[in-house]
């Protein structure tokens, strides 16, 4: 829970010594509360006050990192239950499993299949972020061998999944430097696993079958000196799991209940690829920071990763596309030229309908600060000058031979002025983008 300036003031020496650069301790406390000053500027603050202030300043949900180098991932430090309240910060880390029963070519191919789960959407690269090595064999040697193979063959972050401290120790020794996430410590193995985690500077998963048990377990692990903890619910049906994950989110964020103040990992169980994707999607939305699936089906991954992208986009910021000319199909100098706004939702709808028309076209995206056609027009972010300038800037004169511009039906009213401003013939397109295929096929001809 954030402390107020007055709360902090009570913890300061109250000497008004000015050594911090502030005229009074109260002024300094106010700066601290606004996070504009650092406590170490005060030379006389007590150890006790330091600890209290540090604890209060910690985010309600800890940020946990694992993996190494450019492929290190981070999970947690969320602040909201609903994305519209703020935004979700650290996109769900999606991981795929590898059984340690696999060896040789099978193991090699499985790792390659996971490495290949990479896509590009709206100019952003998305993909699998981690590999969970599962100790299905029950053998420490096999587990360590599979972990070593993953480390050699993939740059992705590693999650080591075993209940056996011996197997974990063996695998950690083979993945030194890669900072794997150790999954999992249970009540009876907490000390042994926490010891391995501490010695190797790895984060560790606390696994139990109830919120009460998990909170005891995370306290126990923390008492062993491990701060980077991830929580997981074990042995629950999907319904109970979802309800408990929501309760955990509330406990960490609204109650600032420290034993729950960690990110969550969930392992998806499901017989088919379809079911796994459905459950994973639910966990992405409500409230798993790391989700592990068995499927490596690219179609399922593309859908799950897109869901992460959508849910973790900033709701305060309209998603924009870059203002420029977008060719659809393979247009030439005789192809139609349409304009729309740079609100991504508007653009993608128009793009998909132009594509559906099978008429190769150019779409001129005008910068309207990410607003839709009607909003932009009523806010004067879309007028004949702005369109004319965009046409000039992107050199539409040399792009097409004809002098015809198709405009959104909703701004038919601007056609007169636009014609004057550009000298081009203005063709009023349909109001609804879904009518574009018909328009391009019939009216354009």
């Amino acid at each position: 829970m954030a402390l107020t300036g007055l709360d902090i003031f009570k913890l300061l020496p109250k000497t008004n010594c000015k050594k911090c650069g502030m005229p009074t301790c109260l002024a300094f406390a106010m700066q601290l509360a606004q996070k504009k000053a650092k406590l170490d500027k005060c030379p006389d603050v007590s150890e006790e006050a330091k600890q209290l202030l540090a604890a209060a300043a910690a985010p309600p949900m800890r940020l946990v990192k694992f993996g190494s180098g450019d492929n290190q991932v981070q999970a947690g430090q969320e602040t909201a239950l609903f994305r519209h309240e703020d935004k979700f910060y650290n996109p769900t880390v999606l991981a795929a499993t590898i059984s340690d029963k696999l060896t040789g070519t099978e193991l090699h191919n499985r790792i390659e299949a996971i490495n290949a789960l990479k896509f590009e959407r709206i100019g952003t690269k998305i993909g699998a972020k981690a590999i969970a090595v599962i100790n299905e064999s029950g053998l420490a040697d096999a587990f360590a061998a599979a972990a070593a193979a993953v480390k050699n063959q993939s740059k992705l972050a590693i999650i080591l999944v075993s209940d056996s401290p011996q197997a974990i120790a063996a695998a950690v020794s083979k993945t030194a430097g890669a900072m794997p996430l150790i999954a999992s410590a249970k009540m009876d193995t907490a000390e042994a696993i926490a010891k391995i985690a501490k010695e190797n500077n790895c984060p560790v998963v606390a696994k139990a079958n109830s919120i009460e048990a998990i909170s005891q377990l995370s306290e126990k692990i923390k008492a062993q000196g491990v701060e980077d903890i991830v929580l997981t619910l074990d042995g629950m049906n999907l319904r109970d799991q979802m309800f408990n994950l929501s309760r955990m989110r509330v406990l960490s964020l609204k109650k600032v209940f420290r034993p729950m103040g960690y990110p969550v990992i969930s392992f998806v169980k499901g017989t088919s690829c379809d079911q796994q994707a459905a459950i994973a999607t639910s966990l992405i939305c409500k409230y798993s920071n790391i989700v592990v699936v068995d499927t490596v089906e690219p179609g399922a991954w593309l859908a799950m990763l897109t869901a992460v992208m959508n849910i973790y986009s900033d709701p305060q910021k309209p998603v924009q596309v870059e203002p420029k000319i977008y060719p659809v199909g393979e247009p030439n100098e005789n192809s139609p030229l349409l304009f729309t706004t740079n609100f991504s939702l508007t653009y993608y709808t128009v793009e998909s309908d132009v594509e559906a028309s099978r008429v190769p076209s150019y779409i001129l995206v005008v910068d309207t600060e990410g607003t839709s056609v009607l909003t932009a027009y009523s806010g004067d972010k879309l007028n004949e000058k702005i369109v004319a300038e965009a046409m000039k800037k992107f050199n539409t004169e040399n792009l097409v031979k004809h002098r015809k511009l198709i405009i959104p039906g909703y701004v038919a009213v601007m056609s007169g002025k636009l014609e004057e401003a550009t000298g081009w013939e203005i063709m009023v397109g349909p109001r609804e983008s879904s009518m574009l295929p018909k328009y391009l096929q019939e009216v354009w001809k």
Binding site: C285, K286, A300
Partner: protein, 319 residues
């Protein structure tokens, strides 16, 4: 350290609404569907506050669609253009909770069929299946005003869900739906203020709030899904806060939107995207699952594989 209590109690709840009328209710439906009733956010509090299970309305078009991707045509290839056989297939083989007759064919640009044809489709489908119906216009205001009142009359007493009405065009359909005893879909373009406004407008005409379902417009996964998602979450919070004008159950149009997405239908997709046969149903199912997390009550869907995946998920949560 003892785990603190999380006491989320809300003064309001989502309205419970029953669709379809059986014999006792003056209709001919063999089953009715009740949705809504949630007294908490999705997965909030105890499972018995979650309300009624969400349901799936499968789309049946009044005409043979000419722009469906092959992967979507495949499961329906023997019934497209035959709404009766199509509806039966959805109910008997794919387990549709509701049938949504989408009157694309009356649109001036998509066939311009007259009211007579729309009425016949409605009557035939009513006879062919026992589940409640959703009757959804073409989106062309003038044509919907001509045709949809007659469709409403043809289904009088069946307690269908008819729509949609918008803030610019609501009077004709609202009046007739009221007279014929149907429920009504109010439609806003991803704008929570307009959503409330249209509910006020139709209730000012005397339409009962407890017979309204809201449609906030739907974005497909990757194409604005998150806008609908957040509006639905805000709507649920408003309902729980006691706002009667925002307490209606929510319907989403996932089938149409998801199958417009490039990812769902692109045949010559980049390598590593998986097969087009799997991608479309996956896109539709994932869109639906996301919107369920934000509190959707009725989901319009198309591909049977996607429907099966979503039904399986719903089954696990609403045991």
């Amino acid at each position: 350290m003892p785990v603190p209590e999380v006491a989320d109690s809300f003064s309001g709840s989502v309205t419970k609404i029953t669709l379809g009328a059986a014999k006792a209710g003056g209709g001919t439906r063999t089953s009715t569907i009740t949705v809504g009733g949630s007294r908490n956010v999705v997965y909030g509090g105890a499972p018995d506050n979650a309300g009624e299970r969400p349901v799936i309305a499968m789309d049946v078009l009044d005409i043979c669609p000419d722009d469906w991707p092959d992967a979507l045509v495949e499961p329906y290839k023997d019934v497209l253009g035959n709404p009766v056989a199509w509806a039966k297939k959805c109910v008997n083989e794919f387990g549709a909770d509701l049938i949504c007759i989408k009157f694309d064919g009356i649109h001036p640009d998509k066939g311009d069929k007259d009211a007579e044809q729309a009425v016949k489709v409605t009557q035939d489908v009513l006879k062919a299946v026992g589940v409640p119906l959703v009757l959804w216009g073409s989106g062309n205001a003038d044509k919907d005003n001509q045709v949809m009142p007659k469709v409403s009359q043809a289904a009088k007493g069946e307690n269908c869900l008819v729509g949609t009405v918008t803030q610019d065009n609501y009077k004709a359909l609202t009046a007739i739906a009221l007279a014929d005893g149907h429920c009504l879909i109010t439609h806003a373009p991803l704008d929570i203020n307009i959503a409330k406004q249209i509910n006020i407008l139709v209730s000012d005409m005397g339409f009962p709030l407890e017979k309204i379902v809201t449609f906030q417009a739907t974005g497909a996964l990757g194409y604005g899904m998150e806008y609908a998602y957040s509006i639905q979450e805000r709507q649920r919070l408003a309902a729980l806060g006691g706002d009667k004008m925002m307490a209606m159950p929510v319907i989403c149009d996932v089938g149409y939107e998801a199958w417009r997405a490039k990812e769902a239908k692109l045949v010559d997709a980049p390598a590593g995207w998986g097969t087009v046969q799997d991608r479309g149903p996956m896109w539709e199912a994932t869109t639906a699952i996301c919107l369920l997390q934000a509190g959707a009550n009725i989901i319009r869907m198309r591909h049977p594989t996607a429907v099966a995946a979503v039904k399986n998920f719903i089954q696990q949560i609403w045991q």
